[in-house]
């Protein structure tokens, strides 16, 4: 079976295909020609390892992520479980808003709570996602009881300090507020649940978040 292209970003391409009889996702990273080839090979290899590691680490402490089926450093490809019937939280919100559902209603407050708890667990284990947006969170049917499935750990890292965690949350906050209208309460609920679920470390992160907000729209630079 040939590969079907799903998306293409700056980092590489994402395909769906049949692999050993299963439907899978293949993430293929591009070589960056503007880099010195040895350096590029090394950086790409480290990014692949970081992504795969983060995916497996998350599952070990109970955050649902796609399973890793294969990692190939010669083709720079990672083969992942395809999550069937999934919808991104982004599209879920779009659909519900189109159906005139209120962002302040129980459906969204429940969703915000689940996101808050998931992120609290993520950061409690010192994993920084690096690209938290509603496009990188999935739900499966039945959506109202679905776990939050985190995907795309391509920019992830490990850090115990509050700074990167605060930036993680800030990126999500900006993404949600700018993509979906009337989400102020939704975001507030996510952060409030995060703080409660996460304990002392999470409280520190929230404090740090206030500082990050004050810095404006500056993005953190990644290597």
């Amino acid at each position: 079976m040939n590969r079907e292209l799903l998306t293409q970003g700056a980092e590489g391409r994402v395909f769906t295909t049949s692999w050993l009889g299963q439907s899978v996702i293949v993430k293929q990273r591009f070589p960056k020609t503007y880099r010195h080839p040895d350096l590029d090979a090394q950086i790409t290899r480290e990014r692949i390892k970081a992504e795969a590691r983060a995916l497996v680490r998350c599952r070990s402490f109970g955050i649902r992520t796609p399973a890793v089926y294969d990692v190939d450093f010669t083709t720079n490809e990672i083969v992942l479980e395809e999550i069937n019937d999934s919808v991104t939280v982004r599209n879920f919100i779009y659909d519900a808003v189109n159906k005139q559902q209120s962002m302040n209603g129980p459906v969204f407050m429940n969703l915000a709570e689940k996101i808050g708890k998931t992120l609290a667990k993520l950061h409690d284990n010192n994993i920084i996602h690096g690209d938290l947006t509603t496009s990188n969170m999935l739900l499966v049917p039945p959506y109202d009881t679905s776990d939050i499935i985190l995907i795309d750990f391509g920019l992830s890292s490990v850090d115990e300090r509050p700074e990167d965690k605060a930036v993680d949350l800030y990126v999500l906050e900006r993404a949600v507020l700018s993509t979906h209208p009337n989400t102020e309460l939704f975001v507030q609920q996510v952060l409030s649940v995060y703080k409660t679920a996460g304990g002392k470390a999470a409280a520190e992160v929230i404090n740090r978040l206030d500082e990050v907000r004050m810095r404006g729209r500056k993005k953190l630079c990644f290597g």
Partner: protein, 176 residues
């Protein structure tokens, strides 16, 4: 009885899984393996959760063979090594490969030309070929969970098979 799958290497190798029970000559088989007379991977079914788990290991093995970058000496030992969550070859063979007192064997044959290989193997193994569905009743869930270090939190949101394969795929660089 014989489950055939196609692997993802350039030659599209065919992979056959055969489950034997009430095996009486494990000791002899091990001798034959060491003499290079067995053209199959002989695996402990108790360490196998799904056929897919074995296919992933076999696929990786043939790809390594293709790239001339195998870690072990034969594609058959490579398949067994790939099943293991650790990089220690001897440990892998001990934990996952046929043992002297084993009565059940999951055999993996990788070859474009199935029939003769399967016939040869069935001539070597003194046991009963059974349907592959019986594999699930032979899985030792506790041993598997311990060996691969699968947490109970993980099992609340994923299958054991997915957890196992994730560890197999990332063993070169996970946990650290």
């Amino acid at each position: 009885m014989v489950t055939v799958n196609v692997l993802e290497d350039a030659s599209r190798s065919r992979c056959h899984l055969l489950l034997y029970r009430n095996v009486e000559n494990a000791i002899d088989l091990r001798k034959m393996i060491m003499e290079g007379q067995v053209e199959a991977s002989l695996i402990k079914p108790e360490m196998v959760v799904s056929a897919f788990q074995v296919l992933v290991a076999a696929n990786k093995a043939v790809r390594s063979l293709e790239a001339k970058k195998m870690t072990t000496r034969s594609v058959f030992s490579e398949i067994i090594f790939n099943l293991s969550p650790t990089k220690n070859i001897s440990e892998s063979l001990l934990r996952f490969g046929l043992g002297d007192s084993d009565k059940d064997i999951l055999a993996v044959v990788v070859d474009p030309d199935v029939e003769p290989k399967v016939e040869k193997l069935s001539g070597q193994i003194q046991g009963q070929l059974v349907p592959l569905d019986e594999l699930s009743s032979l899985t030792n869930v506790q041993k598997v969970t311990e060996t691969y270090k699968i947490t109970k939190e993980e099992l609340t949101m994923s299958s054991l098979s997915d957890g196992v394969i994730s560890r197999m795929a990332c063993k070169e660089f996970y946990p650290k």
